[in-house]
Amino acid sequence: MTESRCMARLLASAVHELRNILAVVRESTGLGIDLLDMERKSTGARPSGERLHGVLEDSQKAVQQGAALSDAMDYLASASEMEAKGPCDITRVCHVFCLLYAREARSSKITLQTDNGEDPVWAQFSPVILLRALLDVVDLCTSVGGQISLRLSGERRDRHEGVVIEVFDGTNRELVVSALASCPRLEGLRIGWRAKLMPWTSREPRFFLTISETGGQAETN
């Protein structure tokens, strides 16, 4: 068994268990809300009941967030076994990346955003290669102090599929834009692939991240 297969199996099993736990919390809090609603109908609202209702609703929202995170982990488990040439839905990878890395990014005061419901943008490389490149982009932002918001979205531009990275808000915006502009190639991708970061000159401060094959050569800056 390969290491990636081993990781994928362990991760998939953990996600299954996590979903079961979330399902119990969701149904238990849902039952609590049901019972409070019934009591409210028969005896009228009580302050303690209203408070409890709010707490249970917060728990339901937390379960929804946990379920979204579980979906992202499940995608990571299946992505780790995908072929190097994909296919990869860039829109979905952006969404998964934002969910998986939100916590760590927040510790550098970086907010990650992506638009839900965008159309898929298909490309011929592995999702893991793109995840790695996105991690490099965030590391680059962290290295100059973070404190910005990044919006990621899949797009097709001049027959190339890639990620539009929009830098907005935050006190470090200029520093981050300058760091990204001076780093056209990202390090650390697997041999045979390169990630290129192009300033989107017509719509600054945006960048277009593309992944392409190099024909077997490792590329660095």
Binding site: H16, E17, R19, N20, A23, E27, G30, D71
Partner: protein
């Protein structure tokens, strides 16, 4: 009398609570905890709809649905799973389910799917 539902899931805390919420809404709910029990209960009680967990110890949901569909082809069945990706290429028993839902469920959505599945079962006729 409300619809008669059979729920089969080895996650007892989950399925017992789900059943209680459904009973509050006037469904008549029977709960079992494995696939073999589900076959026995469906055979003796002929519920309006069966909800099966896909991964149960012993007789799993995919095997249970195969057996139930052989005996009662028109009986609506909904599958539940903690796995996101279900291998449904149209040839597996999973494709015989009315829907395959991922936990945790949004209760309102679940009820809507239950109602839709029973409506379709009624339309297609359950002559077994």
């Amino acid at each position: 009398m409300g619809l008669r539902l059979l729920l089969a899931d080895d996650e007892r805390d989950f399925v017992d609570t789900l059943a209680e919420r459904l009973r509050l809404r006037d469904y008549e709910v029977q709960v079992v905890y494995d696939g073999a029990e589900a076959i026995r209960a469906a055979t003796s009680n002929k519920p309006d709809l069966v909800v099966l967990d896909l991964y149960m110890p012993g007789l799993a949901g995919d095997e249970a649905i195969k057996q139930l569909k052989m005996m009662y082809p028109a009986m609506p069945i909904i599958l539940l799973t903690g796995h996101q990706a279900v291998d449904d290429n149209g040839t597996s028993p999973v494709s015989q389910a009315f829907a395959c839902l991922t936990k945790p469920l949004a209760f309102k959505d679940f009820v809507a799917i239950v109602e839709a599945a029973v409506r379709e079962g009624t339309t297609t006729g359950r002559g077994e």
